[in-house]
């Protein structure tokens, strides 16, 4: 009887076990397949050519400094704004095997029948010709940051050169006042009689913008500093159209210790970085006050370490947004205002911490 009873219970157990087994198999299969599905879908998502969204308008951004973080931020701002308005911005020539120059890229853009061009222009005739050609082909051109005033471009988005100059001038005045002190009664003979401030200018000399900027610096220094009579403003031309030209020019300028300036004013990211690196290389940190441009990680760290005195930043996102706004406005209305002004601000030792903390990408303001 005992064995029979145990037989019965064992039968029941077997039955249960088999039910559980079948259920387990099903679960394992389904879970395995689900897991597999998920693993695949992750890859599928990655493989699926990212974003298949379609847009009405196709704009291009043409600049010589595609790789710089500064332009990337501008592009980002432009892209976001464009996407809001059912348009897409392409950085022209970004992944081409041949490095075309700006004018060729404009030509390609015309050939490719894009709907609008954002252009970091210059005052050269070639550029002006290309802009005009684009206009003739019915493609609106908005110049960004640097203008081609005599061309038929629709609008210019940038910083007012005079304002920018005033900002630089303010900084120069600060530096000079720090050096001499505001109280002029005592003349300290251990100090130099003058402070030479060197503005590193783009070699495209026709740019009136740079002249205006220079004027801005000069006037601001005179207005703000009681020591303005001791400031000597000077300019140096940096070639930045050829490859590596800027870095070479800067090294040339700083090579001779005798003729080195007391203050260097850099008007773009590249020259700021180059100056910083050259100072570190030549071991002249502290001898020259650097007033830079843009807020890359490197520049921010340089400010923190007191290698660079201060840097002027532009609201890059705003530049991108404004340029797209200008293009859209022109495309839709056939008319757009000639000039969009973008905000600037200063990062110095006092507020560099905030920017470092926030991380580089987001600190546009």
């Amino acid at each position: 009887m005992q064995s029979i009873k145990s037989e019965k219970t064992s039968n029941r157990v077997l039955f249960r076990v088999s039910i559980i087994l079948v259920a387990f198999m099903l679960c394992a299969t389904v879970l395995g397949l689900l897991f597999f599905r998920q693993a695949i879908s992750k890859n599928k998502k990655a493989i699926a050519i990212e974003g298949e969204e379609q847009y009405d308008k196709h704009f291009v951004l043409i600049t010589n400094n595609r790789g710089s973080a500064f332009w990337k931020e501008i592009y980002q701002g432009a892209l976001e704004k464009a996407q809001e308005n059912n348009a897409y911005v392409e950085i022209m020539g970004d992944n081409l095997s041949v490095k075309y120059n700006k004018n060729e890229l404009i030509k390609i853009a015309i050939e490719a029948k894009v709907d609008g061009i954002l252009l970091e222009a210059d005052e050269s005739v070639a550029t002006r010709t290309m802009i005009d050609e684009a206009e003739q082909a019915g493609i609106p051109v908005v110049t960004v940051l640097s203008d081609s005033k005599r061309s038929k471009r629709q609008s210019f988005v940038g910083i007012s050169s005079y304002d920018l100059g005033a900002k630089y001038g303010e900084q120069v005045a600060n530096v000079v006042d720090q050096y001499y002190g505001i109280n002029q009664e005592k003349v300290d003979h251990t100090k130099k009689s003058t402070q030479r401030a060197l503005v590193l200018m783009n070699s495209n000399a026709q740019e009136t913008g740079q002249n205006i900027l220079f004027t801005g610096i000069d006037e601001m220094v005179k207005k703000q500093s009681p020591n303005s009579d001791k400031v000597v403003l000077d300019t140096a031309l940096i070639k930045n159209d050829a490859a590596f030209a800027a870095e070479e020019s800067i090294r040339d300028i700083l090579h001779d210790r005798e003729s080195q300036p007391d203050i260097i004013i850099c008007l773009d990211e590249l020259s700021t970085t180059c100056v910083y690196q050259t100072l570190v290389d030549y071991n002249r940190v502290g001898e020259i006050t650097v007033i830079g441009y843009y807020n890359s990680d490197m520049i921010l760290h340089a400010i923190e370490q007191n290698v660079v005195h201060s840097t002027i930043i532009v609201n890059t996102k705003q530049i991108g947004e404004y340029s797209i706004e200008a293009l859209q406005e022109y495309v839709h209305t056939g008319y757009v205002s000639e000039y969009f002004s973008v905000d600037t601000s200063i990062i110095s030792q006092d507020n560099v911490k905030n920017y470092l903390k926030e991380g580089n990408v987001e600190n546009n303001n």
Partner: protein, 498 residues
């Protein structure tokens, strides 16, 4: 509730169905898993194909572009109609290929490049057509200018195609990497699933086969026990409805039936044995009676013949009473000789009693009054022999021998509902109850019997009656006490021994 229903249904399946179910379930699972896997493999293969297809088609596009340019150049060089034909053909081919390219603005660099290529190609083809047109119109200035323009455009386009090809290849390489990673996932997943399913399948098959073999095992164990002679074992009543369940049930029923038969046979044997015992006892008693009788009547034949001779002699001498007496004695003895068999009629028994009383009355000069009240209709009923005479003898010997008053014996034969009753009563000294009890329990010793007895005691009579009628209620002794006489009643069941 549902579970038990399902369970019952499963348990009720036949072996074939069970086995089929097990294999079908497992096979189906494996099949499903494999199918799923194959579908995904196909999917991935087509993805890989697509990855490289884009490169292949770009190469095609590049070739077509080169052909357009070269055929145009050839035409410009030679102005042959062959070259022109070649140009038109390649131009057509190229524009057909270009048509397939993306023309929408999408947030995808590669698609945008495609769009640019398409637009540039349209312009390029326009230019080449114009160039060829100018060449045909012999407009040297124009066709040279346009050729230059076309060449420039050609340069841009081929750069774009080349770059796009590169980009795509780079992307494809990373896609391929992902695909191969997916393949690894796939491999791992499918291996694990297959192993799990295979293991579970094995266990499932084991369980199913066990559920089939378990009842068989139980059956074999029980069968072994039965073979060893233990018929009390039983299978668990929980039969499945399959073939083995039927077998087990049949086996169980067979066991039960065997047990029933065995107990029946045993009972029958018991009854038979009892019957035989009874018969033997009867015989023994009869033999015993006869033996005792023979011991008493040394040679009845001799005695009978002698008495007959005496009777004839008395006849010759005209001694009527003597003749009658001797005749009665002779009859008395002859009964014993004649009725050697054990069953006689009541009439014969009563005749014997008559003889006996006559003899005794002659012997004791008519002291005994004998009265008969007999229902003549029952006299043909048969009873064992030598029943009544010993009782009457007993009455005389113990009841009325030593009394001072006239002894009287009454023999009654009558019928009630179920019995023929034979009652023999006397008016003698009676019997104490303990003596009655002693008679019934055979405690009365042989020594207590008087020397005059012909040797057949009451206990012998009672024993034979009881054996004969298989009942203990055939004999009754009633006495109301000292000097109040005794009554012996024999109850003969009516339905028997007619």
């Amino acid at each position: 509730m549902l579970k038990t229903i399902i369970k019952r249904k499963i348990l009720n399946l036949s072996i074939q169905a069970k086995l089929t179910m097990a294999f079908v379930i497992t096979t189906f699972l494996l099949l499903a898993v494999n199918l799923f896997m194959y579908v995904h493999i196909n999917d991935m293969i087509s993805q890989i194909d697509a990855v490289y297809q884009s490169n292949i088609s770009l190469n095609e596009l590049d070739q077509a572009l080169i052909k357009v340019q070269s055929s145009m150049t050839a035409y410009l060089n030679t102005k042959t109609s062959d070259a022109l034909e070649e140009y038109f053909r390649s131009e057509q081919n190229y524009s057909k290929l270009v048509e397939k390219l993306n023309e929408k603005t999408q947030n995808n660099q590669l698609k945008l490049m495609e769009k640019n290529i398409k637009n540039m190609s349209e312009n390029y083809l326009l230019t080449t057509n114009q160039t060829v047109e100018a060449k045909r119109g012999r407009n040297v200035e124009k066709y040279k200018l346009r050729y230059e323009k076309a060449s420039k455009q050609y340069g841009y386009i081929s750069t774009y195609i080349y770059s796009l090809n590169n980009e795509q290849f780079r992307k494809n390489a990373s896609n391929y990497e992902m695909l191969s990673m997916t393949l690894h996932y796939f491999e791992a997943t499918s291996t694990i699933i297959l192993i799990v399913v295979a293991l579970c399948n094995i266990i499932l098959v084991i369980i199913v086969t066990r559920s089939i073999t378990n009842p068989l095992r139980e059956l074999s164990i029980v069968a072994n026990q039965v073979a060893k002679g233990d018929l009390t074992v039983q299978l668990s009543g929980n039969y499945s409805k399959d073939e083995i369940g039927v077998l087990n049930k049949a086996f169980d029923t067979m066991l039960t039936n065997i047990q029933v038969y065995i107990s029946k046979i045993r009972h029958n044997l018991e009854v038979e044995r009892e019957m035989k015992e009874k018969e033997l006892l009867m015989e023994t008693h009869l033999k015993d009676a006869q033996l005792k009788y023979l011991q008493a009547q040394i040679n009845p034949h001799f005695l009978f013949n002698t008495l007959n001779a005496g009777a004839q002699l008395a006849m010759l001498e005209d001694a009527e009473r003597t003749y009658e007496y001797i005749q009665n004695v002779a009859l008395f003895f002859r009964y014993n000789i004649k009725k050697n068999n054990d069953i006689v009629t009541i009439r014969e028994e009563i005749e014997l009693v008559d003889n006996y009383i006559y003899i005794l009355n002659v012997r004791f000069s008519g002291e005994i009054a004998f009265e008969k009240r007999i229902d003549e209709t029952v006299l043909h009923y048969k009873i064992p022999s030598m029943i009544l005479q010993p009782i009457v003898e007993n009455c005389i010997n113990y009841g009325i021998r030593d009394i001072d008053w006239q002894g009287k014996i009454i023999l009654e034969v009558y019928q009630d509902f179920e019995h023929i009753c034979i009652s023999i009563s006397d008016n003698g000294i009676g019997m104490e109850q303990d003596v009655v009890d002693k008679i019934f329990t055979k405690k009365l010793q042989e020594a207590d019997l008087s020397a005059d007895s012909n040797g057949i005691g009451l206990d012998n009579v009672i024993g034979r009656l009881r054996l004969f009628y298989a009942s203990s209620d055939v004999f009754e002794i009633v006495s109301e006490g000292h000097n109040k006489g005794t009554k012996v009643i024999i109850y003969i069941p009516l339905e028997e021994r007619e």
